[in-house]
């Protein structure tokens, strides 16, 4: 049979394709619907948080940082509760990473704060002596891309039914709503409101001035995202 296949390229190719496609069907499909169900307490990203997530991706923080806490005592001691599938329901793309040159960040919002991030991102080695993380000075002046984040929010709301402007159950029994503006201007304004809260806890005068002038520096968006990781 194999000899015959080797003389008949078309059937050879079909045979190869069948053999390689088979595994994908069996392995990937069965769990698809279940894994995309959000856990109680999961919230979609706000405009500013999503903007920060784009900054995270733009700078490939995921090259050094994971966002996946494995169920080992050594990891839950260091980073907090192990990850569960439903927590990632609003993560497009997922950002688990595959290398921990730096620590996991899945719940970094629980144990680091705005001012710490500000100091650390400007000069990691000054906060953590011996750190090999690069300094991200340009984030203090680059203006973040709020518009693209808003476009992404509209897309996921429309296509994937991400529940913006809807009451969501939280773990403690309360309800929470993540607002999504109707217009681009509205989105920019709400991102700016969030940015003001962050900037108030920061010390960099340039950043404060920029926010006061209606701009969102990348660092502010990024910190909003990092604080949200819980």
């Amino acid at each position: 049979m194999f000899h015959w296949l080797e003389k008949n390229p078309f059937f050879f190719a079909v045979a190869v394709f069948v053999v390689i496609a088979f595994a994908g069907l069996v392995e990937i499909l069965p769990n698809f619907a279940q894994a995309s169900r959000p856990i109680v307490g999961a919230k979609p990203y706000s405009t500013l948080e999503l903007t920060g997530r784009l900054v995270y991706i733009k700078n490939s923080c995921n090259a050094c940082h994971s966002q996946l806490i494995r169920p080992f005592k050594s990891e839950t001691d260091r980073y907090g509760h192990y990850s569960t599938s439903g927590e990632y329901a609003y993560d497009r793309p997922f950002l688990w990473g595959s290398k921990r040159t730096g620590p996991d960040l899945m719940r970094v919002g629980n144990y680091r704060t705005t001012d710490w991030h500000e100091n650390h991102m400007r000069n990691p080695a000054e906060v953590v002596p011996g750190s090999i993380m690069p300094a991200y000075t340009w984030m203090f002046t680059n203006v973040a891309d709020v518009d693209t984040a808003y476009a992404e929010q509209l897309t996921i709301q429309k296509l994937f039914g991400v529940p913006y402007n809807a009451e969501l159950p939280m773990a403690d029994g309360s309800k929470a709503t993540v607002a999504l503006a109707d217009t681009l201007d509205g989105a920019r304004a709400s991102a700016l409101e969030e940015a003001k809260l962050i900037a108030a806890d920061m010390k960099d005068q340039g950043v404060k001035d920029a926010v006061a002038a209606g701009q969102v520096p990348e660092i502010v968006a990024l910190i909003a995202y990092l604080n949200r990781l819980k």
Binding site: K73, R78, G80, N110, R112, T113, W116
Partner: protein
């Protein structure tokens, strides 16, 4: 002995030496790393030995054997192909691995009866039982030592290994409080749950100096800030303190239950409040540490309060 075999042995010895070194640096293969550490090292060892052994075997065949076999009819750009049988060992191990895989799924390790979360829960329970037993009654020294070990991992990233606050980025834990921090509190008030309730500290607009019967002034704020930061020992600022603060914080600054916290010295109770609720002040914000256990809290409280006692 043949040069190839010598080279193979050299490779094996070098890699095993390197592994030994790695294990040594990381604190040894035993301890609580347990099975995982052992298996990883075993894997590393097997990897080097098997690869080197097998490749050496074939290199010896290159050196000593000759090619033979029946050639296939086809020939591609001058490349022929022997119709040799499968290498016996390879075929047997391949078959064996398939049988093993099937067994693994169906019997050895039935796919639906293993859960990594179950395994985790077991790991944690076993650990908790053991440690609760072992550290039920700790003396102060042990408590402090344990607190120090937690501090290095959980607190040092902000407060620094020396707990000196890294040049004002977080609180210097060797002293109760800095002058800037006191001033910040006086200017802005404070509502950090330091008493375990939401009782706030008023800002300057709520601070009446009974000596002058007027709201506290800029100069008085400066003076009393230095006074408090200095441990309430100086003479300058003492009158302001007595007039404006002592009513709540007590004449000695050691606080009053349900009224105001101890600002004269670090107390375990105050530290515990910070751990439970976090703290926002002049330097920035400290997060709450609710993930630590009660024993761990006690340990950290003991360690941190010991820092400022010279």
């Amino acid at each position: 002995m043949n040069k190839t075999v010598l080279a193979a042995i050299a490779v094996i010895v070098a890699m095993l030496g390197a592994t030994y070194l790695a294990v040594g640096t990381a604190g040894g293969i035993g301890g609580d790393g347990g099975l995982v550490n052992k298996l990883a090292v075993l894997g590393a060892v097997v990897l080097v030995i098997v690869t080197t052994f097998v490749v050496t075997k074939y290199v010896r065949q290159m050196q000593n054997d000759t090619a033979s076999g029946k050639l296939a009819d086809e020939n591609w750009d001058g490349i022929g192909e022997y119709k040799n049988e499968l290498p016996f060992g390879w075929a047997v191990i391949f078959l064996g691995s398939i049988v093993w895989a099937i067994w693994y799924f169906l019997a050895g390790y039935p796919v639906n009866s293993y859960s990594q979360i179950g395994e985790y829960n077991k790991e944690v329970t076993v650990h908790d039982v053991k440690f609760n037993e072992q550290y039920k009654n700790m003396d102060d020294e042990t408590l402090k030592e344990m607190g120090g070990s937690i501090f290095i991992v959980q607190c040092a990233p902000c407060h620094g290994l020396q707990a000196d606050g890294l040049g004002g980025k977080a609180a210097d834990l060797h002293e109760r409080i800095s002058a800037e921090s006191v001033k910040h509190v006086l200017m802005n008030g404070s509502s950090n749950n330091l008493l375990g309730t939401s009782m706030p500290m008023p800002d300057r607009n709520g601070l009446l100096n009974t000596n002058t019967n007027a709201l506290i002034t800029d100069a008085e704020i400066d003076a009393v800030s230095k006074y408090v930061a200095g441990g309430l020992k100086a003479t300058e600022g003492a009158d302001v303190f007595a007039g404006a603060c002592a009513a709540c914080h007590g004449a000695d600054g050691k606080g009053m239950e349900m009224v105001a916290p101890n600002i004269a010295e670090m107390s375990p109770a105050m530290i515990d409040m910070v751990l439970n609720h976090g703290k926002k002040g002049a330097m920035g914000t400290m997060p709450a540490f609710t993930n630590l256990t009660e024993v761990q809290h006690k340990a950290v409280d003991a360690y941190v309060s010991s820092l400022s006692k010279k």
